[in-house]
Amino acid sequence: MFEAIAFYLFAFLTIAMFFIAVTTSQALYALTALAAGMIFISAFFFILDADFLGAIQIVVYSGAVMALYAFGMMFFDTTREVKEKRGNALIISGLSILSAVLVVLIVAAPMVATNITASYPVNPALGNTQDVGMILFTKYLVPFEVAAVMLLVAMIAGIVLAGKKMDLSLTLMTEAEIIDMKKDQNKKVLS
């Protein structure tokens, strides 16, 4: 009973937050709604006895990713109203729902149809975090290392990409300076 109440509550909240995130025209609203949604999702993980995953979710998404977005948004003019396309809403939502249903169908169908046996069963004797650690550092060691390298690469790439000409800021420059800079750039391109 308690589980059901929690599920429906968080489901409602998550859907609402994400709905706001994709529909609002204010970037800050969207960011905040997204962060809230992420935290609500971690609640599901706790309900599902995936404590470690829940913690990760909060740390990575609400902590790192959202912070990253927040910093990123400082570069952009967030006060500007976000203009959206007036696409055919029916087509968009139709396509979305259809593909979502298909994805879930494909993922769920084999499990519903056949009795799969767990290849890495949960060990009730250990806590979730310990359990995850055991599996992650034995069976999934190589993917884990690869993921680590990938994160490193992503970090370096992020620094290199964003760090170029950090001293320049279009928002702080006057129009004339911007035009001059663009001319310079064009010259470089042309010469």
């Binding site: 979710q57 976000v82 203009k83 949960v122």
Partner: protein, 101 residues
Amino acid sequence: MEIGLNHYLVLSTILFAIGLVGVMRRKNLLMLFFATEILLNAVNIAFAAISHYYGDLTGQMFAFFVIAIAASEVAVGLGLLIVWHKRHNNIDLDQMSTMRG
């Protein structure tokens, strides 16, 4: 009332659909990134739920790696976004038409 796997799968479907709507209707690149995060999270819920109901940790492992990928994506994507913004002073998807044939 027992909450089963199907409940989670339906929830996952709904969130995935919301994410796709975002991907398709957003014009601001930053918002597009938000939508992709929603997509990834929707799938994560499904993974965790399946993991729970079948007593198999593989689902959690997958969710774990998905989170790692999402983090990398944000790092690289934001870097590119900043470069783009510096060069063109906007992050409007419709303005990125250099691939026009």
